[in-house]
Structure formats: C-alpha cells, structure tokens
Symmetry: C2
Subunit: 203 residues, 2 copies
C-alpha cells in the first residue's frame, strides 16, 4: 500500500468541499438559510455532520463562501459584449445574456433573491450587492442613453425591476411562457418604445 500523495489528498479535499458547497447551496436557496440544518446538508452531501466543520468553521462561514461564489458566478455575466454593435444589438445581447444566465445560474439567483428579501441577511452582503447592482446600472444607463431614453437611470431601474420580477416568477410560478417569448416581448417593448424611429427591418 503506497500512501497517498499530497496531490491526491488535495483532490480528495477539493471534492468533499465541493459536495458540501453544492448541497448547501441548493438547500439554502430552496428552503432558506435558517430553515436548513447541518444535518440536512450532511445528508444531501452524503457526509457526516462532523465533516462539514472540518471544511467550514461554521454554518455562517459556509454561507459566506457560497455567496462569494455566487457573486463570482453572476459577475461572469459582465457586460462586455461586442462594443462595435449598434445600441439595439447591444441591448438585445445584454438582455439575452441576463436571461440565459438566469437559467444557467438559477440556484444562485434564487439565493440572491432570498438575501434581498430579508433585510437582516441582506445587510451582511450589502457592499457586494451594491457593487453588483451599481455595475448593472452603470452599463445599462450608458446603453439607454445611446438609445435616446429621456431618463436612462429610470429605464435601467425598470429593466432591473423586470429582471428581479422574472427571477421571482421562474422560482415561484410554473413559467407560463418560454424564455424566447419573454425575451422578445421585453425587447420589442423597450426598443420600440425608447427609440420609436428605428423600426426593425421587417421580413
């Protein structure tokens, strides 16, 4: 029996951490932080309660790390689409990106929502959330300005509100409409309304 190498141990640790993080993320998002117990996490991750504390100092620290991962993941959105494209195209791309991200990172968005809803928890991550929102506002305001909106910040606010509401609907209701339908409805509304001169080429 050769003993395990450093790399092997490191890999084992990585996997275990990952199992815990993934189980916790899902439960926190679905049931909420307080409603989720370490036992439930351990069960879902198929490890013992004790092991969790080997990897995370406390339930709170576990949440911290998950949130941190979430922000990293969600920031991956980053609004650096093809800058050369027309504003309309850019808006399209952005909205598409957000909606698609909303699907692929569903669980993180659900968690993000839960944080928003409860002021107490929200306060703990206030700074990061603000940074996240601020970038959103900055980027979309620029865009709406280019599109000739009267009040770009207000438009951005409304769009952001739309997104928030969409997350809620994806989570809460049995989604009566497809992403494509919503995407189109949203875009046509915004683009035509803000920039009525530039009718999209028909055909």
């Amino acid at each position: 029996m050769s003993p395990r190498t450093k790399d092997q141990y490191s890999e084992i640790r990585r996997v275990s951490r990952e199992k815990i993080l993934s189980a916790a993320l899902e439960l926190f998002a679905k049931k909420g932080f307080h409603a989720t117990s370490i036992s439930q996490i351990a069960k879902k991750a198929k490890i013992s309660k004790g092991l969790m504390y080997n990897y995370f100092k406390s339930k709170d620290r576990l949440l911290d790390e998950i949130i941190q991962n979430g922000f990293t993941e969600l920031a991956g959105l980053s609004y650096h689409s093809t800058k050369s494209a027309s504003p309309e195209e850019q808006l399209k791309n952005y909205v598409s990106a957000v909606l698609d991200n909303l699907y692929s990172n569903y669980v993180y968005w659900q968690l993000y929502l839960a944080l928003l809803v409860h002021p107490d928890i929200q306060k703990r991550y206030e700074k990061k959330m603000k940074a996240f929102r601020d970038e959103f506002i900055r980027e979309f305001s620029k865009l709406f300005r280019k599109l000739g909106a009267k009040n770009p910040k207000l438009e951005t606010f409304l769009l952001g509100t739309y997104f928030d509401g969409l997350v809620l609907n994806f989570i809460a209701a049995e989604a009566d409409f497809s992403v494509e339908e919503i995407k189109n409805a949203l875009l046509s509304k915004y683009i035509e309304n803000i920039h009525p001169k530039s009718k999209r080429k028909s055909g």
Copy 2:
C-alpha cells in the same frame, strides 16, 4: 370591585391577539419565519412567551393566520374600478391601485415575497396564492385585450412581473425613484406601446 363583563374580556383578548399578530407579522416579514423566535415575538409584543400559546396553537398556526389576514387585506385591492372608464383610464386606475396598495400594505407584500421565494413554504399556501394570481391575470388580460394587445396574457405576465420586481426593489433597495415617477414610466410604456394609435392628449 365589579368583575369584568364578557365584553370586556372579549376586548382584552382581541387586543392581546392583535399585539401578537402585529409583532409576528413584522418580524416574519423582516427576518423570515424560521429566523424569528417566539421569544422575539413575545418581546416585541410585550407579552410573555407563554401567552402566545394561549392564543395560537403553534408558531405555524400563527403564521397561517397572518397569511390569511394578508390575503384578505391584499384582496381588498379588487379590480372593480369605474367600469365605465376607458380601458386606458382603467389600466391607470389599476396600476395606481396596485402601487398604492403596495405602499400601504408594505409588510404583507414583504411577507408574500418571502413566501414566494422559498418553495417549501410556498407550497403550504399554494392554493390561495394561485387564486390571488389568477384573479390578477383574469382582470388584466381582459383589460389588455380591450387595449388591443397581441398577447394579453403575455402582457399581463410582464406587468405582474413588473409588480413583483417593484415589491422587491421597495424592500431591498433605497428606492431611487418616487412612486409617481415609476407609475408614469410604467403606464406610458404600456399604454403607448400597446395602443400606439391613441396618443394621449398633449397640453
């Protein structure tokens, strides 16, 4: 010392119940159901822990009653505005009503949101929530149809999504815009977009 009459007792009971309900509502909405303890409720209501159980069988039953009250309150919205008015006027009235209600019943909306976010809790009140949403959809679909929308249900979905998002923003962020601004932005977007022929009288 004359003993208290039946009515006096009944009134005392009413007041105590009310104190508990009000304290619990606020805490459930703000911190979430699971994050709120009976002790905290008792403290806020300025009663003893034990008394709570005199009025409610359990923490769960307490929540049940609060939710019930919430639906009653929110249903007070009811979309029976002046039927004689034009569809545009009606939409205006409805949107106004919802936004105003959103302010006056802030706490209930916050709670409603918290319920939506967590599928587990949501399931417990699924039926009532569905009834509530269904009425919303029915009424606004009618309206959007009158306004000549291509897909009234989709429009209703989008509007509902807006409202959901607005609730979130009122709760989560430090509201960058006034209700009036939002109301107008929303309405102008919807009305002009859906019914482009009928330009509002300028002047």
